[in-house]
């Protein structure tokens, strides 16, 4: 299954399993290198896309592995954008409040960090609810 996905294409479709997160990171790394981005930029963008996929798997598909996530990478002038589309339940990550690490730690909870990291790392995070599913666009301004 995994081998059928060609990461050199600008768009891949994966099933909604955390098993595929490493493939997603390889996809971003491949294109980051093709575009001659710096190592730190590549690491940050792949982390943001990993977080986005993790959120979709968790919240839009509620851990069902039967869903699909389409990931498209595109560079226009000095902007790199990664668009993630799914057909799961509506889930707007931008409404998640910033985490209070100290508070969560006292409550012995570990969640709620993904969106915060995405916002810290990327320059723009846009969310749109689609008829059925979600669209999330992560944008990084390239130096």
């Amino acid at each position: 299954m995994r081998r059928e996905i060609d990461i050199s294409k600008s768009e891949i479709v994966i099933s909604s399993s955390t098993d595929n997160l490493s493939l997603v990171r390889s996809f971003i790394e491949y294109h980051g290198r093709e575009l001659e981005l710096g190592n730190k930029e590549i690491a940050h963008i792949s982390l943001a896309v990993d977080e986005a996929c993790t959120n979709i798997i968790k919240h839009a598909y509620n851990y069902s592995k039967n869903g699909k996530i389409k990931i498209n990478i595109d560079k226009k002038k000095d902007k790199l954008s990664v668009k993630l589309t799914d057909k799961g339940s509506h889930f707007d990550p931008s409404i998640i409040p910033d985490p209070n690490i100290e508070e969560s730690q006292k409550m012995k909870k570990g969640g709620g960090l993904g969106m915060f990291l995405m916002k810290k790392i990327m320059d723009e995070v846009e969310y749109r609810a689609k008829g059925k599913g979600n669209e999330l666009i992560l944008i990084k301004y390239l130096a």
Partner: protein, 114 residues
Amino acid sequence: MADFNVSSREDGEISVVKVEGYLDAHTAPDLENEFNKMIENKRHKIVVNFSELNYISSAGLGVFMAYVETMREESGDIKFSNLKEDVYSIFDLLGFPVLYEFYKDEEEAIKKFR
């Protein structure tokens, strides 16, 4: 090849946990299992050696957030050592260095428990 590996050894009452590879939402449950075993065995003084960890996402960071309080309640802690710069920068982005102790090497972290 496994994306992530976790192993531990005992040094007196201190447990040294070695994490290797990629810690993400797929592999974080392995680390949770390791911490659950330590709690079961009443081992609460933990040093996590990150020297072979190449990557961490929020799912991995969340594991430490979820377990540290249990260790501290039992007079223990989770202390971090040997982080690569890229990995440390993610902890730093989230403000972890204020709430956790980070050390350059494992020995230094172990000493802090003694």
